[in-house]
Amino acid sequence: MSDQHSNKLKSGNTGNKKIGRREFFKTGLRAAALISLGSATGYLLSKSTLDDPVWQIDPEKCVQCGRCATHCVLPVSAVKCMHVYKMCGYCDLCGGYFRPQVKKLDTGAENQLCPTKALKRTFVEPPYYRYDIDEELCNGCGKCVEGCGSFGNGSLQLQINHNICTNCNKCAIARVCPAGAIIRIPASKGYLLKK
């Protein structure tokens, strides 16, 4: 843009003296560019953080819409179900593991909720069972989270695994999250598990 001004100046005048004026004008613009760049940087620095933000799911807001599984930019979502064992009741009838209509409490595929069978059930002692997540199989659909939250203690929660997440500038899931549950938090915090 500034270029054109200088051209105009040039077109109106000829001779070395005029070129000197043109150079002067250009130097002024350069100084202006430097100053504005510098001041913008200074202002931005005052708002900046060393603790880089990362994307994470606020489990209090999450509504288990299933879009974590379908909208992540990665082939398999970086969103995984995580199990807060401290909150778990170790129930035999686990709302996160079994379909709500289940009749027989066994590990048959027809009884399981998880579409990829990523939730594993291990017998501990009567009447307790432990539930673990095979993260490699989990696609973050949140079905078990919904089941656990509706019927149980909510110990299964969807979180973004930072080992997988590419930390996009704008999380593609956050863009479509109906509940605004995907937020930026300081990297030092990392996870927002309910405890």
């Binding site: 350069r30 940087t41 620095l45 064992y85 778990c88 009741g89 500038n169 030092s188 990392g190």
Partner: protein, 460 residues
């Protein structure tokens, strides 16, 4: 899934427990902040919060089964995010690559050096960092940070925004030459230049301004980050993208085999800023190492059509040039104001991109129709307990921002158009073949064509 990967994964988990974030101790990576007074204050506050949290913790406690078999419930495993120090590494790599590239462009005039620096950039920023630390996209963070008080911007993003601009102000667009991984890809796959006609390049060169205007508007209002969303190359590195974006990326790559840098020239919003800086640059690369002999050999060598050639000037009727100039000057305010008006009139449509506004539209639709859409958005909104009036008010506020921002964007585009027209009415006398500073991306392809000092360069 093989057993080996399984085993590896378990190992990773064990390792990673060492990196578990520990909030009660300060992180060793940033001692200088924590020594400041505010830092101390924060620690104290944090401790108070932690202590008070302990006492109220009882609320959320869960009955824990007492296992007779001595079973110990495992801890929840989380892997800490990438440590902050790696961000500094990114910035350092950018800085080093910029220095190296500028040296190859201005000092060594080595096309080979430029190409290998571009390869390095693709490998680091593309293959290793998966394309997601990027100066082009940083525009959005900067505009959001400038417009929204509570938006926190990482230091590295500021560096990624400012460093290339600074380097360009001093050395021309050496960033574009190949430090930018997007530019580098297009540079590396380019095979043979098909020259584009003027009727195509002129209208298309208006696109980056529109893209920039929209990107800033949408980012500043918090609606969307369109530069990242429609990044054509990033999918190659992630090896996954939306189907449409894969197609778009393939088209751009195929085009850039035969057309010089289609993305840089006809889309890149950051290129607009870099072009301004480059116009003012203190030093800029030249076609000829010393002085131009006007041999015309380089005339068609530039794939991005950025060689300005000396043209004969026919004398026109007296006053014709002046009249044209005055007309263009008078046109300027008209264009700016009418484009601002147009921007304002389209602001309503644009505001629909903002999720809050589109949610408000949905809820209003529900109110009008007397039934629920039952979409996830609607369900989540109704269960959030936020009153609809609050939502409508928020949406109204965003629409107000859009009205202002959209008018400004319009005015900006009007100004760009007016100045482009004005430029065509101004005589520019030129004797030599020289790069058009705004558009030249310092790729160094023209060096080879210049016969001046060839003997010297061979001996080097």
């Amino acid at each position: 899934m093989s057993l080996a990967t399984k085993a590896m994964r378990t190992e990773v988990n064990h390792q990673k427990t060492d990196f578990e974030p520990n909030i009660s101790t300060s992180s060793p990576g940033k001692p200088f902040v924590w020594t400041t007074f505010t830092g101390l204050l924060r620690v104290v506050l944090l401790l108070i919060v932690l202590l008070s949290y302990q006492s109220s913790f009882a609320e959320a406690r869960f009955p824990k089964p007492e296992f007779e078999s001595g079973h110990v419930p495992p801890e929840t495993q989380t892997v800490a995010p990438r440590a902050a120090k790696w961000e500094y590494v990114d910035v350092a790599v950018l800085f080093v690559l910029l220095c190296v590239m500028s040296w190859f462009v201005l000092g060594k005039r080595s096309r080979k050096g430029i190409v290998w620096t571009a390869v390095a950039s693709v490998l680091y920023f593309g293959v290793y960092r998966l394309g997601c630390v990027c100066s082009v996209g940083s525009i959005q963070n900067i505009s959001m940070s400038l417009s929204q008080a509570d938006y926190i911007i990482p230091l590295s993003v500021i560096a990624f925004f400012v460093l290339p601009l600074l380097f360009t102000l001093f050395f021309g667009r050496t960033f574009c030459a190949g430090v930018c991984f997007m530019g580098a890809i297009q540079e590396l796959v380019h095979i043979k230049t098909v020259k584009l006609p003027l009727w195509l390049t002129k209208p298309l060169s208006f696109l980056p301004y529109i893209y920039l205007g929209l990107a800033v508007l949408l980012a500043a209002t918090g609606a969307d980050f369109i530069i990242c969303r429609y990044d054509p190359f990033i999918g190659f590195f992630r090896m996954s993208a939306d189907f449409g974006m894969v197609i778009f990326g393939v088209i751009i790559v195929v085009l850039s085999m035969f057309i010089g840098r289609p993305y840089c020239r006809f889309l890149c919003p950051y290129g607009v800023l870099l072009g301004w800086m480059s116009t003012l640059s203190f030093r800029h690369t030249t076609i000829s190492p010393s002085s131009c002999v006007q041999c015309k050999l380089c005339e068609d060598s530039c794939p991005v059509n950025a060689i300005a050639k000396p043209l004969p000037v026919k004398t026109e009727k007296p006053n014709q040039g002046r009249r044209r100039l005055i007309f263009m000057l008078l046109l300027l305010p008209v264009l700016v104001i009418s484009a601002a008006w147009l921007g304002r009139s389209i602001s309503g449509t644009l505001s629909g991109i903002h999720p809050t506004v589109s949610l408000a539209q949905e809820i209003k639709w529900e109110n009008d129709q007397g039934r629920k859409t039952n979409s996830e958005e609607s369900q989540a909104f109704h269960s959030s307990g936020i009153p609809a009036e609050q939502l409508f008010q928020d949406a109204g506020e965003i629409q107000r921002q859009f009205r202002l921002g959209s008018s400004l964007t319009g005015a900006f585009l009007g100004l760009v158009l007016a100045l482009a027209l004005l430029k065509t009415a101004v005589l520019k006398k030129q004797k030599n073949y020289e790069p058009d500073k705004a558009n030249c991306v310092s790729c160094g392809r023209c060096y080879r064509y210049c016969p001046v000092g060839k003997a010297n360069s061979v001996s080097l």
